[in-house]
């Protein structure tokens, strides 16, 4: 099968690769671009471990074809920290909001997208926003607290 030439921007860097038409954006990030921070938990859009943003929209990268990323702006977990950690990343460590950490990249990307839209969410709003991100280890309690604490800090800083 002939490959498709894809040109896109990932975490601000211009990248290009050749994608099999069947490959997902998740496959391309992990296998062509060596960005393995984005995880595959299901491949069917049910776990959120593969969450990234494409042109600012939160998507499951396992549900998007790599070819569809052509000309788009993709942001992954690897682009979240600058010289310092994003407040969400710092608060997740401080609150012990991860155990195995496998769901963490997807949850951080999703939570960042939430706080960009809603800087002062209720617990219930956080729970429904993150309902597509499965975590099997934590019971979500410390995740909700970490998101709230990061949101409070970001509001204070603004």
């Amino acid at each position: 099968m002939s490959k498709i030439h894809v040109t896109t921007t990932v975490n601000g860097d211009p990248v290009e690769f050749l994608a099999d038409p069947r490959e997902t954006l998740l496959d391309a990030l992990r296998n062509h671009l060596d960005l393995t921070g984005t995880k595959e938990g299901c491949g069917t859009g049910d776990c959120g471990a593969c969450s990234v943003t494409v042109d600012g929209t939160l998507v499951c990268s396992c549900l998007m074809l790599a070819a569809e990323a052509n000309g788009k702006r993709v942001e992954t977990i690897e682009g979240m920290a600058g010289e310092e950690l994003h407040p969400l990343q710092r608060k997740f460590i401080e609150h012990a909001a991860l155990q195995c950490g496998f769901c963490t990249p997807g949850i951080l990307v999703a939570a960042k997208a939430l706080l960009e839209r809603n800087p002062d969410p209720t617990d219930t709003e956080i729970r429904y926003w993150l309902a597509g991100n499965l975590c099997r280890c934590t019971g979500y309690d410390k995740i909700i607290r970490a998101v709230q604490d990061a949101a409070a800090e970001m509001r204070g800083a603004a």
């Binding site: 992990r30 995880k39 977990i77 710092r90 155990q99 195995c100 099997r136 280890c137 979500y140 309690d141």
Partner: protein, 748 residues
């Protein structure tokens, strides 16, 4: 209570520092099983049986092998013969032999230059099956006339006349149960069922492996126990254990399901056939659900006698548990001892049978056997408390095991914290909150033995006075942090000066996996012993420098101090000074300890849950949830709370949603997360925790192990809360909305 609010003699234990692996895990840098790649690497795919039970007539891989880029195919014919017992079971599960025994059973594997090509090639491998009658339900598998799925699985323990699918029988007890029941005011008897559930770790099984024609190889794999992987792969493939070097990746959850092999020998076998090129194999989610470690399904009879004052006079159980198509996997040996472990009852009788059925080979899942047993026993205790209008905590306090009680399974409990958890639950504000309409409250206690196991740890002092600890138990939920805290406490140095590394099989003696709640207990205990050895050596170095007896040196605050008659005669010599000079004072300074760790202390917990049931739909909402559990000592309280909360969430899923659904064709109907629905954030409330601390005398800092017990009480507690809310008792999990609605309707 946790150290946050209690003054202890400890400087670091009981604090909540950042975990050392946190930075890698929030930035995406941490490398999990599927994140490794090697130059020249091939990708593998597995062909799986679509039938629950079928004879394999023929496998034809010629079309697959004809594709450009396909490098190797393996079938059972490529594996050595002559294995017996559990080694044969592992081999049979890795690749089916004469018969496929469950939907999803691996039949062949192929390696090719890309993952997509390997999947294409797998579809071209033609397998001819002769479909055989199957059975997937535990009671159906025991019924007269059920198809016997494998001949000769029954061991010596099985009484004459049982169905051929019964593999094992167990019984024990004490006291006179007939007299006990005769002395009761009420005697009640019920049957309870739990469905199989999956551990549900979000990371699918994944590994990269390489093996040459000399049978020597390497593997990078997500696992709870890489020495287990090494031993099992070596026996399945007929190679030497020492020839295989296994490095654990970071692990994306295990909960017991990653303590064994499922597909790990396949990339090794493929690599060997493909001229030693490394091979990567990553399972899909549906492969994980169809072919890896679910837990057993259970059908359980319970009989209890109680006096009107709540005294339990006798108890009796008969458990039937199905652990897949392989004997030895159903946890009857754990479920029976756990059944009454929270109680001190004068007369008990336990019986159980293990049954095989056409389902995947079960693996351990958090406190294996204990949640099912608790569902049966704690549900009936609750039913009788409600009938006699007794407070469920009062009844448990009255009959509960205490220090010095002889346990229901034999040994005498030394120092345990069950009563303390019950008292703390009773005193917690949640227990006094008034309930509204359609709301109910459930209480249950739970137990796990905890575990010690084979453990080997090394510690090396650095030239700058820092310490590196090498452990063999993969860190799933913060154990590097807790072991680092204990070592820093012991050495008297900052937490940040200790680095704990999980090392590969070539670097230490054999370690059992991170399982049974043993990592912080056993690796922690061995790490503290290693630190003590290093301290003894550092005291000797200081004594030699000062020209005094080593016995006249004491270690405190990270430095050697002259003691006794020499006290104050020399300034303290810090670990940094000793480390910087070690090359000229006798060489490297290290400690090492290996042991089959004893002294583990039993774990007890008590949960209180409030639910609201929608009478129109039967849907249950968990309003509030309280976990009270004895940690012994909470080394890092945040990760102790995390274990409590995570265990409770898994138990809530088991109670309300999760189940393996098999069709009449014997195929798993729900092998994706959309249909096998684990709790999501919007399903749960905050999970309140109380850490009780009754230190375990068998550990230098009192650790018990905290991982398992939390999954146990939610099953009965939630069913009991639903009974409180609706008056309808669900005796078969999960308490799904249709089932609850039907029970409400049936009650009228």
């Amino acid at each position: 209570m946790a150290r946050d609010d209690v003054k202890t003699g400890y400087k670091l234990i009981g604090t909540r520092p950042n975990r050392p692996d946190g930075l890698d895990k929030v930035t995406g840098r941490a490398r999990y099983g599927a994140d490794f790649s090697l130059p020249g690497m091939l990708h593998a795919a597995v062909v799986r049986s679509p039938h629950a039970h079928a004879r394999i007539v023929k496998i034809d891989a010629s079309k697959a092998l004809a594709l450009d880029g396909v490098k190797a195919v393996v079938t059972r014919a490529d594996l050595p013969t002559g294995l017996t017992g559990e080694e044969l079971n592992l081999q049979d599960n890795t690749l089916a032999g004469e018969k496929a025994l469950y939907d999803g059973h691996a039949v062949a594997a192929v390696a090719a230059t890309s993952a997509l090509l390997a999947q294409d090639a797998a579809r071209l491998i033609e397998v001819e099956y002769e479909v055989l009658p199957h059975v997937t339900d535990v009671d159906a598998a025991m019924a007269p006339g059920a198809p016997v799925i494998r001949e000769g699985v029954a061991d010596y323990s099985v009484p004459e006349g049982m169905n051929g699918n019964v593999a094992r029988y167990m019984e024990f007890g004490h006291g006179d149960v007939d007299a006990g029941f005769a002395a009761a005011d009420i005697v009640r008897e019920q049957t309870y069922k739990t469905e199989a559930t999956h551990q549900g770790y979000i990371e699918p099984h994944a590994c990269v492996a390489q093996m040459g024609e000399d049978g020597r190889g390497e593997m990078w794999v997500c696992t709870q126990g890489h020495w287990y992987i090494r031993r099992m792969c070596a026996s399945v493939l007929g190679i030497e254990a020492a020839g295989l070097r296994v490095t654990p990746s970071e692990i994306g959850g295990g909960f017991g399901g990653k303590t064994t092999i499922f597909m790990e020998p396949l990339p090794l076998a493929l690599s060997k056939k493909a001229g030693g090129r490394p091979v990567k194999l990553v399972m899909s989610r549906s492969e994980v659900l169809r072919a890896t470690g679910p837990t057993a399904s259970a059908s359980m009879d319970v009989k209890l006698g109680m006096k009107t004052d709540g005294t339990i006079t006798a108890g009796q159980v008969f458990f039937r548990m199905q652990g897949g198509a392989f004997p030895g996997m159903s946890p009857i040996g754990e479920a029976l001892p756990c059944a009454f472990a929270c109680y001190d009852i004068p007369a008990l009788k336990h019986e159980a049978v293990e049954v095989i059925a056409n389902r995947p080979k079960a693996a351990a899942y958090r406190a294996p056997g204990s949640p099912m047993a608790a569902f049966a026993v704690e549900s009936l205790v609750d039913e009788m408390c409600r009938e006699l209008k007794l407070d469920p905590i009062a009844v448990r306090l009255k009959n509960g095991a205490k220090n010095g009680s002889k346990s229901s399974y034999g040994p005498v409990y030394n120092v345990i914290g069950l009563q303390e958890t019950l008292e703390a639950a009773k005193a917690h504000p949640n227990y006094a909150i008034p309930l509204g309409p359609n709301q109910g409250r459930g209480v249950a206690s739970g137990f796990w033995f905890n575990h010690g196991g084979e453990t080997s740890v090394s510690l090396a002092v650095g030239e700058d006075g820092t310490a590196t600890v090498m452990i063999g138990t993969p860190d799933i939920g913060g154990s590097r942090a807790s072991i680092g805290l204990m070592v820093a406490e012991c050495l008297g140095i900052p937490y940040e000066d200790v680095r704990v590394n999980v090392v590969e099989t070539g670097a230490l003696g054999v370690n059992e996996p991170t399982h049974g709640s043993r990592a912080t207990f056993a690796s922690g205990k061995a790490a503290v012993e290693s630190a003590r050895q290093a301290i003894a050596e550092m005291c000797r170095r200081a004594a030699a420098d000062w020209g005094i007896d080593a016995e006249a040196v004491e270690w405190k605050d990270g430095a050697a101090h002259p003691a006794g008659p020499n006290a104050g005669k020399h300034p303290p010599m810090t670990i940094g000074e000793i480390g910087s000079k070690m090359g000229s004072t006798g060489g490297p300074i290290s400690g090492h300890h290996e042991v089959t760790a004893g002294g583990y202390g039993a774990s007890f917990g008590t949960h209180v849950v409030d639910v609201e049931v929608d009478p129109e739909t039967g849907r249950t909402t968990v309003l509030r949830y309280l976990v009270v559990q004895d940690a012994g000592t909470a080394i890092h309280p945040a990760y102790v709370e995390g274990q409590y909360q995570g265990g409770a969430a898994q138990g809530i899923g088991w109670a309300l949603n999760e189940e393996y659904v098999y069709g009449t064709d014997g195929r798993l109907q729900n092998p994706i997360f959309l249909d096998y629905r684990i709790p999501v954030a919007s399903d749960l409330p905050m999970i309140d925790t109380v850490i009780v601390e009754v230190p375990n005398p068998g550990h230098p800092y009192g650790v018990r192990g905290v991982g398992e017990t939390g999954i146990t009480p939610p099953l009965p507690a939630i069913a009991s809360a639903i009974a409180g809310a609706t008056g309808a008792r669900i005796r078969s999990l999960p308490c799904s909305p249709p089932k609850v609605l039907a029970a409400i309707k049936a009650k009228g």
